[in-house]
């Protein structure tokens, strides 16, 4: 049978083929284990060989919208205590999510800027929800005087679970740095004395009730956090934030122009 007779090839080619095929087989097997949900099959690869091969170059996670797709909105609101011509005034809440989401709503090509505040809110609310009730009470108190950041952290840690507190503090700092940008944009850098943010989640009307005219969205769940001092990180360009945020704010609230 001629069809099974091998073509004449250089041994070098065959060696290269074998090596490349073995490597590809390993890559495919490793990808399979990594991409698939975690299973005992991963134990066939010794030690941390799998993760050290996959990370960072082939890092990926495909549990998107699974096992349960997201069914709620994260929102982020900001208000501030400002110095208005010598008087301290507490401002109205500004809905930063409403402003940013308008960049992607009814758009075919969506800038990533539109999801920032939802992402900030989801991260800080997630970290807040993991705290114990004692921690949550502390987070709800006002910390804005000298060295407030360290004092808040110490106070929270005195109630235990330092790891959860660290995670929360990191996310709170990020949320505050974002809230500060919103406040500076809205009321002017020089006027803002204290800021407060409100990260919330509200679920959508359940599927089964979508045709019920009486149906209302479930209650808004808010991470109650107190007043804080503003946070500006090194290298932050306030103007670049303000320009886009205010332009978008005016589009959403045309009457304020």
């Amino acid at each position: 049978m001629t069809e099974k007779r091998f073509k004449r090839r250089k041994p070098l080619v065959r060696i290269a083929m074998t090596l490349a095929a073995v490597f590809t087989a390993w890559h495919i097997f490793a990808s399979f284990l990594w991409i698939a949900p975690y299973s005992p099959l991963r134990e066939v690869v010794p030690g941390n060989m799998l993760s050290s091969y996959m990370i960072p170059m082939f890092g990926q996670s495909w549990s998107v919208f699974a096992p349960e797709p997201i069914n709620g909105d994260y929102k982020f609101k900001v208000r501030a205590i400002i110095d208005s011509a010598g008087e301290t005034v507490t401002t109205e809440w500004i809905d930063a999510t409403e402003v940013e989401i308008s960049m992607i709503q009814y758009k075919l090509f969506t800038p990533r800027a539109g999801i920032q505040s939802s992402e900030v809110s989801s991260q800080v609310k997630g970290a807040f929800d993991k705290l114990t009730d004692d921690h949550k009470v502390i987070a709800g108190l006002n910390y804005f005087k000298d060295d407030w950041s360290n004092r808040l952290e110490e106070k929270m840690k005195s109630y235990g679970s330092p790891k959860l507190v660290d995670e929360y503090i990191e996310k709170e700092q990020q949320a505050l740095a974002y809230a500060t940008q919103v406040a500076y944009a809205m009321w002017g850098e020089k006027n803002v004395i204290q800021v407060q943010f409100q990260a919330s989640r509200q679920n959508v009307i359940p599927f089964a009730k979508r045709h019920d005219p009486e149906a209302e969205r479930p209650n808004v769940k808010i991470a109650e956090t107190g007043w804080r001092g503003p946070i500006v990180r090194d290298g932050q360009n306030n103007k670049n934030f303000e320009k886009i945020f205010i332009r978008q704010y005016k589009k959403v609230h045309p009457s304020t122009q």
């Binding site: 399979f32 698939a36 096992p67 349960e68 969506t110 800038p111 990020q174 500006v232 932050q236 945020f245």
Partner: protein
């Protein structure tokens, strides 16, 4: 002879004839088994050899899916360009110096900014001028990728810059970024510009010296293994997407797509979201359809009719995600990689049809004038 006599005779003969028959059966049984073993072994051996030969020839003799991988290159280039263009106006707000509040300048969340090669965008975040120059440069490179100009050099440079850009901001990233990075990395081993590119045009005008047989075979080998790795990557992604979903009540109960479509972030066209989720059976078709399609994708590729269904289905699935959920560039990068599943023959006939239409319209235009 009467029949009875015959019967008797036969009965008489039986005891006599049975011992040699038994002997014959045992011997023949043993030899039959031996022959069978020999035959089966030979069949297995031949099949194995034929399989190895098939794989060897498949890997070494020609490059597969040249049109498909060219389409992948073009679509990934368009994805990059489109994403950069869409974010251009807000680049300093969400990626540049206006976004330092997210903390990633001080402490990157991704591993990449900490690797020197991928650090340029990260180090340029606080410098608007340098950041914008890099941004425009990356846009230019993405155009060259689409055109297929000097791809062997351009593609790796583009990839390094792209990873540097997209990984400098972890917070706003999605899984499409990972697919993009992995796909382009695998594509380094493939010949992405053999079709529909400036490189192909140049090679036609001034043909390069024919490479040695060994070089040619090794280059085919790397190309084809790259295609295999890419196919595996995509198939696993869909399959695991289905496995992850299968455990969730909203998916198994057939209403999962309703939930994200009703949120602000993943329901960017509220009117369309309401339209698609109004009629219950439609919601179930969309929800179950996505799981079944994802799970069956790899197997459906194996025969032509099911492949057409799988590809048409996955294309609509991605267009749905891209439009309804506001994730156009995620969807386009997934569609780009799926292009390798359409055979060269099909791409070629599409090309022929389009060029014949073009020449027809040219002819009619000259006739009119």
């Amino acid at each position: 002879m009467n029949p009875q006599a015959t019967n008797r005779q036969a009965k008489k003969q039986q005891p006599n004839s049975s011992p040699p028959q038994a002997k014959f059966t045992l011997a023949s049984f043993v030899s039959f088994i031996w022959l069978l073993i020999k035959h089966v072994t030979k069949v297995i051996w031949d099949t194995t050899l034929r399989g190895i030969k098939f794989i060897e020839d498949w890997l070494l003799d020609s490059k597969k899916a040249l049109y498909g991988i060219a389409v992948t290159r073009i679509l990934l280039g368009i994805t990059a360009f489109g994403l950069l263009l869409t974010n251009y106006r807000t680049r300093l707000y969400s990626f540049g110096s206006g976004s330092v509040w997210n903390g990633e300048v001080l402490e990157p969340k991704s591993d990449f900014p900490q690797i020197w090669l991928f650090s340029p965008f990260h180090s340029a975040i606080t410098n608007d001028f340098v950041y914008t120059v890099l941004y425009l440069l990356l846009m230019g490179l993405s155009v060259l990728v689409v055109l297929g100009w000097r791809t062997k050099i351009v593609l790796p440079v583009f990839w390094v810059m792209w990873v540097s850009f997209i990984e400098a901001n972890d917070m706003l990233g999605d899984q499409g970024d990972n697919m993009f990075r992995i796909a382009v990395l695998i594509m380094f081993f493939t010949d992405t510009s053999a079709r529909w590119s400036f490189d192909a045009k140049r090679r036609m005008v001034t043909p390069a010296k024919k490479p040695s047989e060994t070089r040619e075979q090794v280059s085919n080998l790397l190309h084809n293994l790259g295609i295999v790795a890419l196919i595996a990557q995509v198939s696993f992604v869909y399959m695991s997407g289905a496995l992850y979903k299968a455990g969730g009540a909203p998916w198994s109960e057939g209403y999962a797509v309703y939930n994200p479509l009703q949120t602000l972030r993943f329901g960017t066209w509220p009117v369309l979201s309401d339209f698609f989720t109004d009629w219950g059976p439609m919601v179930t078709i969309l929800s179950w359809g996505s799981i079944i399609l994802q799970m069956g994708f790899a197997f459906m590729l194996l025969s032509r009719p099911t492949r057409v269904i799988a590809l048409a289905g996955i294309l609509s699935f991605h267009i749905g995600i891209g439009v309804l959920m506001g994730l156009p560039w995620f969807s386009l990068s997934m569609i780009a990689v799926d292009s390798i599943f359409i055979r060269d023959r099909t791409w070629k006939s599409m090309q022929d049809r389009i060029s014949s239409l073009a020449s027809q319209s040219k002819n009619s235009a000259t006739l009119k004038s």
